[in-house]
C-alpha cells in the first residue's frame, strides 16, 4: 500500500512535482499517465526511496520512508520490485543469474526461488533464453528480463516505469497479464507511461500527471 501526502520535489529552481497526493491500495494497479518530462519517473523514484521529497510524506506499507537510513531503505527495497529506465541488467551475467540475484538479496528460499524463476520466465516467453548472456539479448528481451527480475521475488510493491515502451504487442500483453496476476495475488502495482493505449488497459485507477501536477484522478 502506498500513500503520498502533499509531496513536492524541486531541482534548483525547477519544480518537478508539486503537491502530489496519492493513495494506492494493496493489490491495486495504479497507472500514472503523462507526457515526457511530466515527472512520472521522479514520482516512482520517490516511492523507491531513490530520491527524497523536499516536502510531504511518503508511506510504503505503513512505513514512513521520507527519512530513513540507508540500511532501512535496503530492507524496504527487498520487498519491492522495480523496472526503471536506468539500472537495467548486469550485462556480463546470464538471464538466470540476473533474475536469481534478486532472490539471493531478498533471501527467498532456494526451492521456492527456482520455481518462481521458471514460472516468471515462462510467463514472459524467456525460457529458451535462460542461459544466454544478457548483453546478447535483443532490447525487448532485455526489458522482459528486467520485468522478470522485478516480479520474481513476489514483491509487496511493484514499480514499473514504461515497461512496455519497446515491447511488441504480443509481449506487452504478456506483461500486462503478468501484472494483473500479481495484483490479484496482492501486489500493489504502480505503472508509469506516456502511452494512452497502455493507460487504457488499466482504467480502474488512472492518474494523469502534467508538469508535475496531478490533473485527474
Amino acid at each position: 500500500m502506498i500513500k503520498l501526502f502533499h509531496v513536492y520535489k524541486q531541482y534548483d529552481t525547477k519544480l518537478v512535482l508539486s503537491d502530489v497526493t496519492l493513495l494506492v491500495e494493496k493489490g491495486d494497479i495504479c497507472c500514472i499517465v503523462g507526457p515526457n518530462g511530466a515527472g512520472k519517473s521522479t514520482l516512482l523514484k520517490l516511492m523507491f526511496c531513490q530520491k527524497k521529497p523536499d516536502r510531504g510524506q511518503i508511506l510504503i506499507n505503513n512505513q514512513n520512508v521520507t527519512h530513513m537510513s540507508q540500511k532501512a531503505i535496503s530492507a524496504v527495497r527487498q520487498r519491492m520490485g522495480f523496472v526503471f529506465e536506468d539500472y537495467r541488467l548486469m550485462l556480463r551475467k546470464t538471464v538466470l543469474q540476473n533474475v536469481a540475484l534478486a532472490l539471493t538479496i531478498a533471501g527467498t528460499p532456494l526451492k521456492q526461488g527456482r520455481q518462481n524463476i521458471d514460472r516468471v520466465l515462462a510467463a514472459l516467453g524467456l525460457e529458451h533464453k535462460k542461459h544466454d548472456i544478457a548483453s546478447t539479448l535483443a532490447a525487448g528481451e532485455q526489458q522482459r528480463v528486467c520485468i522478470a527480475r522485478a516480479v520474481v521475488s513476489d514483491p509487496l510493491v511493484l514499480l514499473a516505469d514504461e515497461p512496455t515502451g519497446i515491447l511488441d504487442s504480443a509481449a506487452a500483453i504478456e506483461v500486462f497479464d503478468l501484472l494483473r496476476g500479481m495484483s490479484m495475488r496482492g501486489t500493489t502495482v504502480v505503472l508509469a507511461t506516456q502511452n494512452q493505449d497502455v493507460a487504457d488497459r488499466f482504467p480502474q485507477h488512472r492518474v494523469m500527471l502534467n508538469h508535475g501536477r496531478v490533473t485527474e484522478q
Partner: protein, 299 residues
Amino acid sequence: MKLVRYLVYCLSETGANVFDYRGLSVVALVTSALSMLCVGLFFLIYVNIHGVVQSLEEDITMNLYLDENLSADKMLELERVILSYPEVGNVRFISSRDAIEAYLKRYPTEKDLMESFGNQALPASFVVGLAPTHRTVEGVGSVAKKIEGVSGVSEIQYGQEWIQTLWWSTQLLMLIGLVVGVTLTLASIAIVANTIRLTLFNRKHDIGILRMLGATEAFIRGPFLLEGVTLGALSGGGALILLKIIFESFIYRVGDGFMQGHSIVFLPPPTLAGVVVCGALLGFVGALLSLKQTRKVWA
C-alpha cells in the same frame, strides 16, 4: 543457509572480477608479491643476524684488571661484592701468574721480555660472566658502569668497540628494515587498493543495480573485500615462495662465510603463516580504502 548462499555469491563474483581483469590482477599480484618479497628478505636477514648477535652476546664476558699489590683479603671481598650484583652470573679469578702463563703459551718468543718485568708483568684480573638475563650489549654496558666505581679495580675491558659496533649495526638494520618495511607495506596496500578500485569502477553499473535490489553495503562490499584478501594472501604466499627460492639458491651459499659457523635458518613456520595472514590483512585494508568511495559515488 543464507550465509552459505552469500559466500557462494562472493566467491563467484570475486572469481568473475579476477578473471575479467586477469591481466590487471596478475600485475597487481606480481608487484605486490615483489614488495612483500623485499620486506621478507629484510626480515630473513634480520632474523639471521639477530641469531648471530644473540649467540655472540652469550659469549660476552668482562675482564676486571685489579690494582697492583692488592691483598688476598681485598680480592676476596671484591669478588663477593661483584657476585652480589644481580646482573653477574659468575666470576673467575686469574692471578698475575696465570695471566703470564697464558700469555707465554700464545707468544712463546717473548719469554725474555716477560721475565725482565718479573712477576707483576700482567695484573691479576676477574673474568666476569653475566647472568643469562643480562647477556646483551646493553646489559654488559650497565654492569661495567656499576663496577667502574668500586675500589681495587684498575680497568674494565669488555670489547667496548666491537660491542658498540654490533649494537649500532643491529639498530641501523632495524631502522632500515622498519623504513623499507613500512614503505613497501604501504606500496602493497596501494597496489591492491588500486586494483580493486579499477574493478570497482568497472562494476559501477552493477553496483547501482545491486543497491536498487536492496543489497546492503556489506553485501555489496563482500566480493571486493574477498578479492583484496585473496590478492593479498596470494601475494604473501608468492613472496614466500620467491623468498624460499632465493634462500635455497643464493643466500644459503653466500651467507655461510659471514655467519661464523652459525647456520643460516629460513623463517620459522609461524612467521610463514604470519606473512600470508599479513598479506591477506594488507589486501583487506587496501580493499577497504578503495571501497570508501562506493557509498559516496553510487548512493
